[in-house]
Amino acid sequence: MNESTLFLITFICYIMAAVFYLFFLFSKKGNLAKTGFRLAFLGILFHTVALGLRTVESGHAPFTNMYESLSFLAWASILAYLLIEKKYLIQKAGPYFMLIVIALMALASSPLMPKEATPLVPALQSYWLWLHVSVTLLGEAFFAVAFITSIMYLVFDSQEKKGKTSSPTLTAAKLDSISYRCIAVGFPLFTLGGLIFGMVWAYKAWGSYWSWDPKETWSLITWFVFALYLHTRIVMGWKGHRSAFVAILGFLAALFTYFGVNYLLVGLHSYA
């Protein structure tokens, strides 16, 4: 089986997982969510093999162009989601989160993304490629989970205020705390992978640890927004709505750093 077939099987698993999660949302039958979880898990197994195969075939880390990087981000997002779901039992986030993953996978498989593995340009030939990209994207995956739980918080909270409690196990307050937990994982990962490993690599490859390149600046902006989230929450006691908005803003900044900078701004960091 080659990599593109595996990628397709993975994609189908994720779509089916999304469908089961969606049925669960309407029918409230726990078994459907369990099937969704298992399908997503099966998907990530295939995905892991696909990424591994690509690494072996291309001889380098599987995130050197936009296709590879999107596929890896989808993988990291599923990993983050499955861990968080297992720990905090947020099956209801499943359908929404799977939509993000499907969007990433669809973008990766769009004809706009060149798929062939190209040999590495000299600047990317470094083990820092592994460290910098994988840790950063894993951090961003946790920001993505926090993004979904924050949006769900806003919805659940407005329902609870109307007197409708949508679920006895998953309350708005719990979603608020889960968002915080996700950011507590994502923030150190993003700091280490995105900023620190990024600086070390920039120093080795470009001769300067910081050059206010748009990609660098936007990762700093993302970091500032999450620093804002943590300080308003821990020191000033923000919770609920305002915290959720900052978390959403943080993820959007991360998304722009990942995507927007490459397509809208010009800079050194033109790989992915």
Binding site: Q125, F187, P188, M199, G207, S208, W210, V266
Partner: protein, 450 residues
């Protein structure tokens, strides 16, 4: 002084500054930085002058941005210090709780009675807490022992260590900005150049470009020798991602180029009337080579690596890459120009030769060679080590703040009629559930023990 401290110890100020710095950074990514004034005029028209006045075109180096960073740093220092003092006091001179009421007001608590004398209870409880790695402080009175057990108290200082790391990084950035410099040095093989502001020179021994089978560049490698006091002292082959460090200077493989001013070209001369006739000549720019079998002398007058005709209808080169190499050749017969014109490596059939008389010759540009030079970036950045120290501190601080939860157990043991009444309460900064279960485990074990 007091009002200075109260102004800068405000978290609201920190958040305000953080938002302003974030917005400024965003503006800096939307307006291209450090371009020439003409480019700004072309892009923004009349706004260009305003941008330059507000220093938006070199925003991150502007006085106002650096002032913001400076205020932010003072803010972080004052905020951290004002919060550090009570924490240090709590660490070094802890208050041992003696009021049972307050312990029972805690979320995590327990109360039980044990058929031990006070002395025995104290020893058993100490043993239990020590085995869970708690550090203990006790205050003993006649028929009452008060206990304070804590562990992972370093957690309290996680955020302070993050802030310290951030300040060290900012300091490193300032030192880099003030004392750092970078300069490109172009070197051909064998050439020696002095390193600016250093007491040594570098020599390029060898430069090679490695290609992938598809022709794209795999790597550039420069073998450099450091020359000190006219003696070679160190040789290393550098490539992208693998620089050479020496005496605070770092040398990076930055770029490369060809010395197109002195190329050597290979020309194949053919006869239109006789397909079997091929003569190869190698000629350097400006050199004259006689054509075998004829009294013609050929010379190459110009060479361009990337032929293009500009708006003034002049031949020039579009880039320094050999994308469309072309040579201008001349032929002389008895000191009289017989023919001249451009020949192209990529278009051998594109005959542009003008001649006085009809000529039987065809010329093909088959090969060209120019010595390659390597561009080395020499950089001195005295702030770098502080950046790594600051980054390490920051990561240690983040791990402590998020994943090293401090735990505290407060207990009062009272002797009543030969038994001990135990009151216990617990406090944890993070991961309450794990602490709750540890607390219950300790208490239940004490309850059961004989």
């Amino acid at each position: 002084m007091k009002s200075f401290i109260s102004f800068f110890s405000s978290v609201k100020l920190a958040i305000f500054l953080l938002i302003i710095i974030t917005l400024a950074s965003i503006i800096g990514t939307l307006i291209p930085q450090q371009r020439s004034p003409a480019e700004y005029v072309a892009q923004y028209g009349q706004l260009a002058g305003l941008f330059q006045k507000l220093q938006l075109t070199r925003l991150y180096q502007s006085t106002w941005f650096i002032t913001l960073l400076f205020l932010f740093s003072i803010n972080i220092i004052v905020c951290t210090l004002t919060r550090l003092t009570p924490k240090l006091r709590r660490l070094l001179r802890p208050k041992i709780e003696k009021e049972a009421k307050r312990i029972l007001a805690l979320k995590t608590k327990d109360k039980f009675s044990k058929n031990w004398r006070l002395e025995r209870s104290k020893e058993e409880i100490k043993k239990a807490l020590l085995s869970h790695r708690y550090r203990l402080k006790t205050s003993e009175e006649k028929d009452q022992v008060c206990l304070l057990a804590r562990k992972k108290t370093l957690s309290w200082f996680g955020s302070d260590i993050v802030h310290l790391g951030l300040l060290v990084i900012i300091a490193g950035g300032i030192i880099s900005g003030l004392g750092g410099f970078r300069k490109s040095i172009s070197l051909s093989e064998g050439q020696i150049r002095a390193v600016p502001e250093a007491d040594f020179q570098i020599r390029l021994d060898k430069f090679e470009t490695e290609l992938y089978p598809n022709g794209s560049v795999r790597d550039w490698k420069s073998t450099l020798t450091v020359i000190e006091n006219e003696k070679p002292s160190l040789t290393k082959t550098i490539e992208v991602n693998h620089p050479l460090s020496h005496k605070g200077f770092v040398f990076y493989q930055s770029s490369y180029g060809w010395d197109w001013k002195n190329p050597a070209v290979e020309i194949h001369i053919k006869r239109k009337s006789d397909p079997s006739f091929v003569r190869k000549i190698e000629v350097k720019l400006g050199e004259q080579v006689p054509l075998p079998d004829d009294n013609i002398v050929i010379s190459v007058k110009h060479f361009v690596p990337d032929f293009v005709i500009n708006e003034n209808k002049q031949v020039t080169t579009r880039s320094l890459q050999p994308n469309n190499p072309a040579a201008f050749i001349e032929g002389f017969r008895d000191d009289e120009q017989a023919f001249s014109g451009w020949i192209f490596a990529q278009f051998p059939d594109f005959d542009q030769i003008h001649s006085q008389k009809e000529t039987d010759y065809r010329f093909e540009l088959r090969d060209f060679q120019a010595s390659q030079y390597s561009v080395i970036q020499a950089a001195k950045d005295p702030g770098t080590n502080l950046i790594w120290i600051g980054s390490t501190l920051m990561m240690i601080g983040l791990v402590l703040a998020f994943y090293w939860p401090s735990r505290e157990i407060r207990m009062i043991l009272k002797e009543k009629e030969g038994r001990t009444e135990v009151i216990a309460g617990g406090l944890a900064t993070k991961s309450q559930e794990t602490f709750q279960s540890e607390f219950e485990r300790i208490m239940n074990a004490l309850r059961r023990s004989k």
